[in-house]
Amino acid sequence: MKEQYIKQVKKELNLSGNAKREILRDLQEIFASALEHGETEQQVMARLGSPKEFAKNAKEPFEEIKQRPKRGKIVRLVCCALGAVIFFGLFFSARLHQVPDNVIGQANSMTGILVSSPLPFNISWFLGIAGCVFLILTIIFAVKLVRR
């Protein structure tokens, strides 16, 4: 009787492993403690209500917990994806519209003026690196969200 009840509750609990284990362990204790104090399994089951009803009440707090952080995680994912798109967009537009090295102005032919920067590298690469970082974060967060 008791085993049947617990089994049915288990079937109704569509939760993560930990939450499910905790509820089922508590249910075992509910029965054990009541029997220890002289109650019968029937009395306990009558008090608990149907397995479906018990499972519904027990899992509610866990569903609330599960939903709360999820919203934050989706926001985080969308922000990173947006960051990746913006930085890659800036990076590619910077690369595309770049004048060839050693050239200044829209001249039809090469001039002798040397264009140089105090930095030994092109700043536009920073945009590319930032884009890559955001892309990697997006992938990590997406994988984490799906795995939950």
Binding site: I30, S33, R47, F54
Partner: protein, 119 residues
Amino acid sequence: MDNRYVQQFKKGSLEMILLCLIGRKETYGYEMITELNGSASVLGYAKEGTIYPILYRLQEANLIQCRLAHAAANGGSKKYYSLTDHGKEVLEELIAFWSNYENCVNGFIDSYNKRDGLK
């Protein structure tokens, strides 16, 4: 007298009552239920199905903590609940609020009871 207004009162106060029970001394599920049914009959019959979801929420809010202890008598384990430091603070705040709340509600009740004198 078991209408939905009364249900609302009970629902709101059960968390605090459980915090008081747990704060007094470390306790476990069945003990809380027997205590509620023994001394708080005005609340109605306490059931595991009502108590445990509240305990899960209190635990998630880091107000209570629990430890598992081997229980020879029931052939398994018992979960003993106690208040966290945060739980103690929150309970103190709730108790302070409750007395203000009680005064406030009583004030309205008094003014209602004295309505004839106002005429």
